[in-house]
């Protein structure tokens, strides 16, 4: 079991980060016309939902929310020991011409986002794609960056950033774990 090293965000920290990101999304896009939020399974999905709730509170109108499962677009399946479960992609609206904000919990190598971009483009042609993450931990392996970041956290590659959300994990916090090896 990996040992917990430090807590980066607590419940209030997560809440404030999401509220700020919601404001930034609205400001950057000058409103929410044609805006859509698409969360990457698994923890991007509840984060996208929460951002949508905040955006509605601020703007008084809702933006559509979707979920992207990127399993079939991953580039590391042949090297994995465990085959991941394929789950459903639920984007119940056309993405053509939309400003899509992809949402994920952590950006690290950038490979998940590369897969998500491919998955999203197979659904249609958005006008713009932006990226929102709760934590940017560095160590990119691809030329990809986030447009909205909750918290930048310098990490070593031996560490693991674990985002714990009440919808999935039953608690609200972000911690750094020391990798067991």
């Amino acid at each position: 079991m990996a040992k917990e090293k430090a807590q980066i965000l607590d419940q209030d920290g997560i809440r404030r980060s999401l509220t700020r990101i919601a404001h930034e999304i609205i400001e950057r896009n000058k409103g929410i016309d044609k805006l859509a939020l698409i969360g990457i399974r698994r923890r991007g999905a509840p984060l996208a939902e929460r951002l949508a709730v905040r955006i509605k509170e601020i703007e008084g109108r809702a933006a559509p929310v979707g979920i992207l499962d990127i399993t079939l677009y991953r580039d590391d399946l042949m090297t994995l020991e465990r085959q991941p479960l394929v789950r459903s992609t639920e984007v119940p609206f056309p993405v053509l011409g939309k400003t899509v904000v992809l949402v994920d919990d952590v950006i690290y190598t950038g490979r998940t986002i590369r897969a998500a971009l491919d998955a999203l483009l197979d659904l249609g042609r958005p006008r713009v794609i932006q990226l929102a993450v709760l934590v940017d931990r560095g160590h990119r392996e691809l030329p990809i960056r986030a447009d909205y970041v909750g918290k930048n956290v310098p990490t070593s590659k031996k560490e693991v950033v674990s985002v714990r959300l009440k919808e999935i994990d039953g608690e609200e916090r972000v911690v750094i774990l020391e990798s067991p090896d």
Binding site: L72, T79, R82, L85, V86, A119, D122
Partner: protein, 313 residues
């Protein structure tokens, strides 16, 4: 393991948990089929070979489409049915397939056990696409998927399988699948086409069609294999239709909203009336779509990478 065996030769050796995993994986695959761009990159660079020693349209096409939707390359080896000694020709085929670098082979063959035999001589994964009167596991899986999708469950449902049980590999695989998933299976058909001792498999053998249909949630109508009809196993097609054909009157014996399924190709007016085949309770066309989804799921689970599936953790 996701799927515990290298090959899928039948449902007899597949656990309920494995069936569950296949059905769960088929659901997101079906969503892909409904997209405008029906392609995901997961099996890029992989090769699926269909080897059919018997004629087939939908099963072979279904395997090919499943492979292509997952970005694998698919090729077909159309093998002659006659003039080859079965054992020998299979080994020759195996060498050919090995030389082509196939990752998965879908085999249809008139001899029971052919898929298992081929699997034994190949490093590639083998999926049984029908072997003699033995098994047709992907058909049963698509039947299970269709029932689960329409009824929300399989467990506890009353499932009637009607027709030629003796020669039907679909019936054999269906019986394994439905009973493993907890359904109550009833069989009905001409006595000459009902193998003795089926009760051993945990199914109910009904003496007449009405008994099997009574309150059934699902009716699986089997194809009367016209090519065997000359063998005198029942008097004639009119007689069969009169005794075992599913028409509107008989459908009323089943539970309201019962599903009518058929593996195709149908003999309209023989085992099923055109009215029922095209009726509101028929899910026969949906079965074809689901067949592609289920085969996509199998291909992913067999060669999508990762030695084990995370479902087991």
């Amino acid at each position: 393991m996701g799927l515990s065996g290298k090959d899928l030769t039948g449902l007899r050796n597949v656990s309920p948990g494995e069936i569950q995993l296949i059905l769960d994986t088929a659901a997101p695959m079906k969503e892909i089929i409904k997209r405008q761009i029906k392609k995901v990159p997961i099996l890029r660079g992989r090769t699926v070979v269909t080897v059919f020693y018997e004629t087939s349209t939908r099963t072979r096409t279904s395997f090919e489409l499943a492979a292509k939707y997952l970005s694998a390359d698919a090729v077909n080896i159309a093998a002659a049915t006659s003039s080859v000694k079965k054992g020998e020709s299979l080994k020759d085929t195996a060498r050919t397939i090995e030389a082509m670098g196939a990752d998965v082979v879908a085999l249809r063959h008139p001899m029971a056990g052919a898929a298992e035999l081929l699997g034994g001589c190949l490093g590639a994964r083998v999926i049984n696409a029908g072997d003699g009167a033995h098994e047709h596991p992907t058909q049963a899986l698509l039947d299970l998927f269709t029932v689960r999708e329409k009824k929300g469950r399989i467990e506890g449902l009353k499932v009637a399988i009607i027709g030629d049980i003796l020669y039907s590999r679909v019936a054999r695989s269906d019986i394994w699948g439905y009973t493993k998933m907890g359904a109550e299976v009833r069989l009905a058909g001409p006595a000459t086409l009902m193998p003795p001792g089926m009760e051993k498999f945990g199914v109910k053998v009904c003496s007449c069609l009405e008994e099997a249909l009574d309150g059934a949630d699902v009716i699986n109508v089997l194809r009367i294999q016209l090519e065997r009809q000359q063998h005198g196993l029942f008097p004639n097609l009119q007689e069969y239709s009169r005794l075992f054909g599913i028409d509107r009157e008989r459908l009323r014996l089943a539970a309201p909203g019962a599903l009518v399924m058929h593996p195709g190709p149908m003999n309209r007016g023989v085992e099923i009336s055109a009215e029922v085949a095209d009726g509101l309770q028929s899910v026969i066309n949906e079965q074809v779509t689901n067949g592609v989804a289920v085969r996509m799921a199998l291909l992913y689970l067999l060669i999508g990478g990762g030695a084990q599936n995370e479902a087991n953790y």
